[in-house]
C-alpha cells in the first residue's frame, strides 16, 4: 500500500509536468503579451526619458519605487517561511515549501528590476557592480542603494540554491520516468542523483544549514530596503522602527501572496488532495499574527510623529490621515486590518475562500502602504514653498501591471518543468504518518505484494 500511495502521489504531482492543456498555452500567451507590453513601455521610457513618468520636483520617486518595495516584500513569503518551518520541523510545511520558495525567487527577480527601471540612465547601471574598472571608481558603500545591490543579490542567490537543491531528487524521479529529450534534460539536471543514504543525509543537512543562514539574510534584505528611506532626513522617513516595520510588512504581504498562489495552484493543478484547508488555516493564523504586529507598528509610527509635532512631519502625517492621501490610507487600514481580522478569527468564517479574500485585501493594502510611505513624505519635505504632489502616468501603470503578469507567467512555466510540490518530501511526510501501520503489516506486506 505504501507503493500504491507513492506511485499515485508521484503521478498526481507529475501530471502537470507531462500533460499540457490548451488552457495553459492560452494563459501563457496572454500573460506573455502583457509582459511584452511592459518591456515595450520600459524601452519607451528609456528612449524619451524619465519625463514620461509622473515623477517631478520634489516628488522624485513614485510608482516604480513603490513596486520595488512591494515586490521585495512579497519575496519574503517563500524562502523565509519555508526556512522557519524547516527549522521548527513543522510537518505540515511539506506541500507548501516549494510553492513558497518559487514565489521568493520570482518576486525577487521582478523586484530587482525596478531599481533599473527607475534609473535616469539605466545603461550605466553596471556602475554599481564592484569590480576594478578603468574608471578607478568603486561603488559608494555608504549608499543604501549599494547595500540593496548586495543584500538583494545575496538573497536571490541563496534563495535560488535553496529552491534548486531539494529539486534534484525530483529531477531524478522525472529522469527515471521519461525517455528522449526529457530524460536527457532531467538526467543532466539531476546531476546523477542515485539516492544513497549519504546523499540524502548531505542534502538534508545542507538544507538545514541554508535555512539557518537564509533567515538573517531575508530579514537584512527588507531592513536594508527600509534603509533606503530611513537614512534620509525626510519627514516620516527618518525613523528607527522602519527596519522591523518593513520586515513585518514584508512577511505579512508575503504570506498573503502565498495564500493566493496556493489557492490558484490547488485549483489549476487539481492538488486539492495535497494543499488542504489546514495549510490555509495555519498560514491564515500566521498572517493574522502579522496583521496585528503590523497594526502595532503603524500605530507607533503615527503616534510618535503626532506627538513629536514637527511641522513637516505633521504636514506629511495629516495629508495621509485627513488630507489628499487619506482615502488611500483608510483603504489600507481596511484591507490590512479590518478585513482580515474577522475572516481569520471567527471560526465559522474560516475557509480557503475567506483566507484568499483576506489575502487579496492584504496584498492591495500593503501596496498602498508602500505608496503612502514614499509619496506623501516627498510631497511635504523641504521648505513649504517647494512642497509638491504626484500623480502616476500611464507608463508607470503599464509596467506595474506587467510585473504581475510576469509573476504569473514565470510561475506557470515553472510549474510546467518542476513539480510544484516536492515529491520526495511528500513521501517522507506520508510515510512518517503511516509508519506505525507499516510496521504492523510488515510480514504480510513482505509476502503478497505483487
Amino acid at each position: 500500500m505504501t507503493r500504491k500511495s507513492d506511485s499515485s502521489l508521484t503521478d498526481d504531482l507529475l501530471r502537470p509536468v507531462f500533460e499540457t492543456s490548451t488552457k495553459f498555452y492560452v494563459t501563457a500567451a496572454v500573460l506573455a503579451v502583457i509582459v511584452a507590453a511592459g518591456f515595450g513601455t520600459w524601452f519607451y521610457q528609456i528612449y524619451w526619458g524619465m519625463g514620461v513618468t509622473g515623477d517631478n520636483w520634489p516628488v522624485f520617486w513614485g510608482l516604480h519605487e513603490t513596486n520595488f518595495v512591494f515586490w521585495i516584500g512579497i519575496s519574503h513569503a517563500g524562502t523565509l517561511i519555508s526556512a522557519i518551518l524547516r527549522i521548527v520541523n513543522a510537518t505540515w510545511r511539506r506541500p507548501v515549501t516549494r510553492c513558497a520558495e518559487v514565489i521568493t525567487a520570482f518576486a525577487l527577480m521582478i523586484g530587482a528590476m525596478f531599481p533599473l527601471v527607475h534609473l535616469g540612465r539605466p545603461w550605466l547601471a553596471w556602475w554599481l557592480i564592484p569590480y576594478p574598472s578603468e574608471r578607478l571608481l568603486w561603488p559608494n558603500y555608504r549608499s543604501p542603494l549599494v547595500w540593496d545591490f548586495f543584500a538583494i543579490n545575496t538573497y536571490l542567490l541563496s534563495s535560488l540554491l535553496f529552491l534548486a537543491l531539494p529539486a534534484i531528487p525530483d529531477f531524478a524521479l522525472i529522469r527515471d520516468r521519461t525517455t528522449g529529450w526529457r530524460n536527457w534534460l532531467y538526467g543532466k539536471l539531476s546531476l546523477g542523483w542515485q539516492g544513497t543514504p549519504r546523499q540524502w543525509h548531505r542534502l538534508e543537512s545542507a538544507m538545514h544549514m541554508m535555512a539557518l543562514a537564509i533567515i538573517p539574510i531575508a530579514i537584512s534584505v527588507h531592513t536594508i530596503v527600509s534603509f533606503d528611506f530611513s537614512m534620509a532626513v525626510v519627514p516620516m522617513w527618518h525613523s528607527t522602527i522602519f527596519g522591523p516595520y518593513f520586515v513585518v510588512g514584508a512577511i505579512f504581504s508575503g504570506i498573503a501572496a502565498l495564500n493566493i498562489v496556493m489557492a490558484i495552484v490547488r485549483r489549476m493543478l487539481h492538488l486539492e488532495k495535497y494543499l488542504q484547508p489546514i495549510h490555509f488555516r495555519n498560514l491564515g493564523k500566521l498572517m493574522l499574527a502579522m496583521s496585528l504586529l503590523w497594526g502595532y507598528f503603524v500605530f507607533n509610527e503615527r503616534l510618535v510623529t503626532w506627538y513629536g509635532n514637527t511641522p513637516h512631519e505633521m504636514a506629511a502625517l495629516w495629508s495621509t490621515q485627513l488630507g489628499r492621501y487619506s482615502p488611500m490610507f483608510w483603504t489600507m487600514i481596511f484591507c490590512n486590518f479590518i478585513l482580515p481580522f474577522p475572516l481569520l478569527t471567527i471560526r465559522k468564517l474560516r475557509s480557503i475562500t475567506a483566507t484568499v479574500i483576506a489575502s487579496c485585501g492584504v496584498v492591495i493594502g500593503m501596496w498602498l502602504e508602500r505608496f503612502l510611505i514614499i509619496v506623501p513624505s516627498l510631497s511635504y519635505k523641504g521648505t513649504s514653498y517647494s512642497w509638491g504632489t504626484y500623480l502616476p502616468r500611464w507608463p508607470e501603470i503599464v509596467i506595474f501591471g506587467a510585473s504581475f503578469a510576469a509573476m504569473a507567467l514565470l510561475y506557470l512555466l515553472f510549474s510546467k518543468f518542476i513539480p510544484i510540490i516536492s515529491i520526495w518530501e511528500m513521501k517522507v511526510g506520508e510515510h512518517s504518518n503511516i509508519k506505525v501501520a507499516a510496521q504492523v503489516q510488515e510480514s504480510e506486506a513482505a509476502g503478497e505484494l505483487v
Binding site: M50, A232, V233, G382, S386, T389
Partner: protein, 235 residues
C-alpha cells in the same frame, strides 16, 4: 590652505527682483523646460526666491528668501549616491559630477532644501538660442541630476588668473552669476576660510541664521534676517 567657499544672503537687502534667477540660467545653461513640463513641476531654477506671507490683510507682510544649494559641509545628498556623482570637493563644495550620475534621484530626495533638479528629458534649445550657451559649462543629458555649483567655472577661472599672476585671490574677486547680478547687493560670496573676508564677517553677524539648521547639515550659506526699523531707532 584650502578655500571654503560660502555665501551670505542679506534678507534685509533682497528685493525679490529675481535678477539672480535669470543670471543663473544664462551662466549655467539651465534648460527652459516649457509650459507643459513646467505645469508638471519640472521647471529648473538653481536659485529661487521663496515668498512667505505673514499676517492677514491689512496687516500683511511678505518675506523673500533666495534659496540655492546650501553647499552643506555635511550634505545628506552626498553619501546616498551609489556612484559618487555627488561628493565633496577640496574647496568644500558639493560637486555634482554629471558624468557619474546614473539618475537614481536619491540625492534630490535626501536634500532637505529641494535645490536639486533632474533632467527629465534631454534638454533642447530652439535654434539659434543655442548660440547663447556658455562654453565654460557643460550641457546636461537627460536622466542627470543638476544643481547650483557656486559657478565653479568662475571659481576655477579666478584661481587660474590669480595663479598666472602669482598672487593670492582677492576677496570679492570671484563672483557667481547670482552675486554679480544682485541689484541690491544682498548676496555676498567669498572664502569662509579667510577670517577677514566680507562673507566671513557677515556670517558672524547677530542676524545670521542657517536654513533648516535643525537638519544638522552645516550649510555654508548664511541668511541675515530682516532687521526692524524700531531696533535701529533704539541704537
Amino acid at each position: 590652505m584650502p578655500h571654503k567657499w560660502g555665501m551670505a544672503v542679506d534678507l534685509d537687502r533682497c528685493t525679490g527682483c529675481e535678477a539672480c534667477v535669470v543670471a543663473c540660467h544664462s551662466e549655467n545653461n539651465i534648460p527652459t523646460v516649457g509650459e507643459t513640463e513646467a505645469a508638471r513641476g519640472r521647471a529648473m531654477h538653481w536659485i529661487r526666491i521663496e515668498r512667505y506671507w505673514e499676517g492677514e490683510f491689512p496687516e500683511v507682510q511678505v518675506k523673500f528668501r533666495p534659496v540655492l544649494c546650501q553647499q552643506c559641509d555635511e550634505a545628506p545628498c552626498e553619501p546616498v549616491c551609489p556612484t559618487y556623482a555627488s561628493s565633496h570637493s577640496e574647496d568644500g563644495l558639493n560637486s555634482q559630477i554629471y558624468n557619474r550620475c546614473i539618475g537614481t534621484r536619491y540625492c534630490a530626495n535626501a536634500c532637505g532644501y529641494n535645490v536639486r533638479f533632474f533632467n527629465f528629458f534631454t534638454p533642447s534649445w530652439d535654434k539659434p538660442l543655442h548660440l547663447q550657451l556658455n562654453p565654460d559649462v557643460s550641457v546636461r543629458e537627460g536622466g542627470v541630476m543638476e544643481k547650483c555649483t557656486f559657478c565653479i567655472q568662475r571659481i576655477n577661472a579666478g584661481k587660474v588668473s590669480a595663479g598666472i599672476e602669482q598672487r593670492p585671490l582677492l576677496d570679492g574677486e570671484i563672483q557667481p552669476a547670482c552675486v554679480q547680478s544682485c541689484t541690491a547687493n544682498a548676496l555676498v560670496f567669498g572664502d569662509l576660510a579667510d577670517p577677514d573676508s566680507t562673507v566671513s564677517k557677515l556670517s558672524k553677524s547677530p542676524r545670521g541664521t542657517k536654513l533648516l539648521e535643525e537638519l544638522g547639515t552645516k550649510p555654508k550659506v548664511t541668511y541675515l534676517q530682516r532687521g526692524s526699523w524700531d531696533d535701529s531707532q533704539k541704537r
